[in-house]
């Protein structure tokens, strides 16, 4: 029976006992490129559904005996393997203990994805903003562990969790550290600008056109008014119609097979966009506004984080429709008031922007060169010093001299 289910049976001459060795193998998805966090430059391995593969992927990046993997099982019926990974002398013991404590409080019959865990151990589950980072990339997990964070790997899902997560870290892509620092900084800034745009563009448009047309130059006001001529709705309704259409298209596109997905684009882009304008339901400027918003929202690297922005965008649309620019700013202040309260496992969500130390700002909106980031950021690490800057050594001991010009060379000889 054991042989038939894939185990190996070992019979030894002269003994009465049989040893059954568990050598079951099962089909597992191989390691493939992460679909949600693709990079151009950098490792292209992603986590897979097999927990052991995942831990091995991280271990390959941290060959330190102090890398700990504490295993536990959660789920009264599913007995899902959960691994807590951290580097012993970098991660603060309090943080590790807190993660273990929160995990041990979970009592549920089955864990099917790390999303279950996330919801159980988050600081504020009622917040729109994710306070735990989910990632498919082993290099991201390794980088987080080196910063003194703690990773949680869950069996049967390619998404590992990283705690604590900050507002700032959701704007970072893995690639930022693999490409050269100047483009990385510019790209990061663009991402922050895109995040802001995706939040406020429709609200700003509504506020300005319906409350304060005076702050725009006369020509622009006239062209907006001309474009809006014949549109029967106020700007809010117009914005809501288009935004909702866009969100529907997006939602439809996510789950469709790729072959049909293209059709959604055609239906959405051409038919709805073009036809709605021609039918006079929305103005062409509104289409541009929604398109800018959409593109901006796609450049936020983290999916669940961009969802928070999506919802806040609608809140801002309403507050701008209600009180103009004033309402929009109040909406943003409300969001800020919420963000400063949030914490992720004891770390302020907005750090290092709040209660900051200047050295932590090196890896936020900008990404300074590696050799300038000598310390581990965020102040959550025990062992602060990350590296020693040897940059000056390179200049001092340059072995390869610039080749002198051929003519001079000949003269000397």
């Amino acid at each position: 029976m054991a042989i038939l289910t894939g185990d190996t049976v070992m019979l030894i001459d002269g003994t009465a006992n049989i040893i059954v060795i568990g050598t079951k193998g099962w089909p597992a998805r191989g390691i493939s490129e992460p679909t949600t966090e693709a990079v151009i430059r950098g490792p292209k391995e992603g986590f897979t559904e097999t927990y052991r593969f995942n831990s091995a992927l991280v271990r390959r990046r941290i060959r330190d005996p102090r890398l700990k993997l504490k295993q536990m099982q959660i789920g009264r019926r599913s007995f899902t393997d959960i691994g807590i990974m951290y580097i012993e002398d970098i991660a603060q013991p309090e943080l590790v203990a807190e993660v273990k404590r929160r995990l041990s409080t979970i009592d549920i019959d089955a864990i099917l994805d790390s999303g279950y865990i996330e919801e159980f151990i988050e600081d504020n589950p009622y917040s729109l903003f994710p306070q735990i980072k989910a990632t498919e990339r082993p290099d991201k997990v390794a980088a987080a562990l080196y910063q003194g964070k703690v990773a949680i790997l869950v069996d049967n899902t390619p998404f590992g969790l990283i705690v604590p997560a900050t507002f700032n870290s959701f704007f970072h892509a893995a690639e930022d550290h693999y490409i050269r620092w100047i483009p990385a900084t510019v790209l990061r800034m663009m991402r922050f600008i895109a995040g802001t745009l995706s939040l406020i563009t429709p609200a700003l448009y509504i506020a300005v056109t319906s409350y304060h047309p005076g702050i725009l130059p006369t020509e622009l006001v006239l062209s907006i008014a001309a474009a809006r001529e014949g549109v029967p709705f106020p700007a809010v309704i117009e914005a809501l119609i288009l935004e909702l259409t866009f969100e529907l298209l997006r939602e439809a596109g996510v789950r469709l097979p790729t072959l049909i997905g293209g059709v959604v684009g055609i239906v959405g882009g051409l038919v709805i966009g073009q036809a709605a304008v021609e039918a006079g339901i929305v103005s062409p400027i509104m289409v541009i506004i929604v398109a800018v918003t959409a593109i901006s929202s796609f450049s936020i690297p983290d999916y669940s984080f961009s969802n928070a922005f999506r919802l806040f965008r609608f809140m801002l649309i309403f507050s701008a429709a209600f009180l103009g620019l004033y309402g929009m700013i109040l909406g943003l202040l409300l969001m800020l008031g919420h963000l400063v309260r949030l914490k992720s496992f004891g770390t302020p969500y907005l750090s290092p922007f709040v209660s900051f130390t200047a050295s932590d700002l090196k890896d936020t909106i900008v990404r300074l060169p590696m050799f300038m980031m000598k310390n581990r950021p965020l102040g959550i690490a025990n062992d602060k010093v990350r590296m020693v800057n040897n940059r000056h050594e390179i200049k001092k001991g340059a072995n390869i001299k610039e080749k002198e010009k051929g003519e001079d060379h000949n003269d000397k000889e």
């Binding site: 409350y211 304060h212 005076g214 009180l323 103009g324 004033y326």
Partner: protein, 369 residues
């Protein structure tokens, strides 16, 4: 690790000082300066700023005597429980009044420039509702909001001021220093108008781990405020001259309105500036509002300050709606800031310090900063 301490860092203290003093009054302050200080208003402003820095140092000295305690706590030691509580309650009422004034003044500005047809009640209610939400988060939330909004507020503001510099006529500032004595005496009663909010320092130092380290941030904060006021008054007087600046209620907004940046797709900058100026009103209110909720919680001996935010919000709302219009509001303001404010800003802290010194309360020497 779980950093849920009710502490503020020195940097946050500096930001609190700046953001609590600079409020919506900035638009009006140029008017006041030009009216009483004439073309030398900016010199008087600088001088007053320096005096207030030393005043703030007295606040710190008082707090240093009682490390780890906040003003509402140690005033009960100095004056006795009953008298201390009455005083704290009086201060809370005064700050509430102050906040209501601030809210209403902003509402009037906003109605004039941003939302002419929206009812006053709605503008006020929306603003203080958001404020109450932040104040419920405690001192940490307030300090962090202030910390983050500082660059968001001032960088665009300075950027907007710069293109208007060619419009300035600095000869309006001449002759420097003529008849400065009388101008000074006329100006002094209006000092609280500019520097109200400085008394908040007294409360916030108590949240620092080591109050001895408060000197530097407080000094820097006040230097920034003084510099800002001086710059604004130089701009106001330089752009319009002392006489015409007196005629406008908000000379600074007129100055900003007149700025025209070629090639920019925004034509009237005053609307933009005013909408980001919501932020400063917001921070002025939350810094004061937190103090009120905190003080009340100390008066009633309650551990939490959260639950007082919403009921007290109603008071602000009610008080803010009392003046019939702008003229009555400014009459009100004149009365409050000339007499009431002076008592709370200058008299009470100094008297408290004297009593503490005479009764030899608290830690005597704490110069180890």
């Amino acid at each position: 690790m779980i950093r849920n301490n009710d502490n503020i860092s020195p940097y946050q203290l500096a930001m609190l000082v700046i953001m609590s003093i600079i409020g919506v009054g900035v638009f009006n302050i140029v008017h006041v300066i030009a009216k009483f200080g004439g073309n030398d208003g900016w010199i008087i402003m600088t001088a007053m700023g320096i005096v207030h820095i030393f005043l703030a140092f007295l606040f710190i000295r008082l707090s240093c005597r009682f490390p780890g305690k906040t003003f509402p706590e140690y005033i009960q030691e100095i004056l006795g429980v009953v008298l201390g509580k009455i005083l704290v309650f009086a201060i809370s009422c005064y700050i509430l009044l102050n906040l209501a004034y601030e809210v209403r003044e902003f509402t009037e500005v906003a109605k004039m420039f941003l939302l002419p047809r929206t009812p006053t009640e709605v503008i006020i209610f929306a603003l203080i509702l958001v404020c109450a939400y932040v104040v419920r988060g405690g001192v940490e939330s307030v300090a962090r909001v202030v910390e983050i909004t500082f660059p968001i507020l001032f960088i665009p503001f300075f950027l907007v001021l710069i293109p208007g510099f060619p419009n300035l006529d600095l000869t309006n500032l001449l002759p420097v220093g003529s008849d400065i004595g009388t101008k000074f005496t006329r100006m002094i009663p209006h000092a609280p108008h500019a520097f109200r909010g400085i008394e908040y320092i007294l409360f916030y130092i108590g949240f620092m781990k080591r109050p001895q380290r408060a000197y530097k941030p407080v000094a820097w904060g006040l230097i920034f405020v003084t510099g800002f006021y001086t710059l604004v008054s130089v701009i106001g007087i330089g752009a319009f001259g002392a006489k015409s600046a007196t005629k406008a209620i908000w000379p600074l907004l007129l100055y900003i309105r007149n700025i025209n940046i070629p090639g920019l797709f925004i034509e009237r900058l005053d609307g933009v500036i005013l909408s980001i100026w919501v932020i400063t009103v917001f921070t002025t209110i939350i810094t004061g509002f937190f103090i009120v909720t905190y003080s009340i919680s100390k008066v009633i001996n309650s551990k939490e300050q959260k639950q007082f935010a919403l009921p007290l919000m109603m008071f602000i709302y009610y008080l803010a709606l009392q003046p019939a219009g702008l003229a009555e509001l400014y009459e009100w303001g004149d009365w409050i800031f000339k007499y009431v404010s002076s008592i709370f800003i200058y008299v009470i802290p100094i008297v408290a310090l004297l009593i503490a010194a005479i009764r030899r309360l608290g830690v005597k020497k704490s110069e180890d900063f």
